[in-house]
Symmetry: C2
Subunit: 152 residues, 2 copies
DNA sequence: CGCGAATTTACGTTAAAACGAAGAATATTC
DNA sequence: GAATATTCTTCGTTTTAACGTAAATTCGCG
């Protein structure tokens, strides 16, 4: 359905306004789809992203600052986010001897196993985009990259 | 900057995954820009949207259900959201005599004035997209519409 | 009419985000 | 090397979101 119909707005002032509203609206739909697929595993979307980032680390370790830099939502309180993952024993925390301000985070075996369990559900969400041709998705990504240029 | 660089992910598994991550990431940037422009007025983005929706009503009135249906974030607790707007005297609440379950909401004069003050800041955010050609934005919106098709 | 189902809003509770500030460790500058 | 600034994480507090549930009203149907 076109965005005008979904939010029942007869028309937008211009293409910019329409694009911005559409981005927010669609992102909510995407996040909802992911949340739904994560729900049965009892972890939130940001928590899942932390696990993925940690898994992707070559040496296995990352600091809170590393995560903050890379996460989709800016300025999350990584400390408390990770507290919950530690409680669930999905990640491990240790001190960095060469810089004692930093705390090193690492995904645990249980965390890796959880990721493996989640993966099929997650890629199922990706597959909901199969009806959109890849070249259109590439153009979309390029346009989104352009949009962010002056935005932040 | 391309999304891969921003979140320092060397590459995505496929165009679908990249597009979905990019949508969420860009939406966060857009919301941040709007929030910043609203901050000095002391209202949140959802609150602003409620004001805009109420202003757009022909007869001036809307119920909580009307708002819920149209809002960008689904299933917000409209009651408490509107509580805050009532406290700030930006909207008015009254009972519907023909259906006493419903509560009618209406934007106040102060609310209209607030919208007028905010408008220039808001359209300034839109103008940050001026470097993106309109036809690209139109294609973007069409692709986002397609993406939502199977998603919700 | 009377009963159950559906709609609409409100609320209680728990979890998470927002924001600022503090504390500890390190880096920099003179 | 002492003072200052900066970095990195944590914490307190206040808002806001999430989620289920309850209360009130209306509707549908026999």
């Amino acid at each position: 359905m076109k965005i005008e119909e979904e939010i029942k707005q007869s028309k937008f002032n211009n293409a910019k306004e329409k694009a911005l509203v559409n981005i927010i609206y669609t992102a909510n739909a995407v996040e909802d789809a992911f949340k739904k697929s994560l729900k049965s595993h009892g972890i939130s979307l940001p928590q899942y992203n932390v696990l993925r980032i940690l898994k992707g680390r070559k040496d296995g370790y990352a600091t809170c600052g590393d995560l903050k830099e890379v996460m989709l939502d800016k300025n999350p309180d990584v400390t408390r986010l990770c507290d919950k993952l530690v409680t669930k024993k999905l990640i491990l925390r240790s001190n960095n001897k060469s810089n004692r301000r930093q705390i090193l985070l690492k995904i645990s075996d249980k965390g890796l196993k959880t990721l493996e369990e989640i993966y099929p559900h997650f890629s199922a969400v990706n597959e909901l985009l199969s009806h959109v041709p890849d070249d259109r998705l590439e153009i979309l990504s390029d346009t989104l990259d352009m949009i962010r240029e002056n935005l932040q």
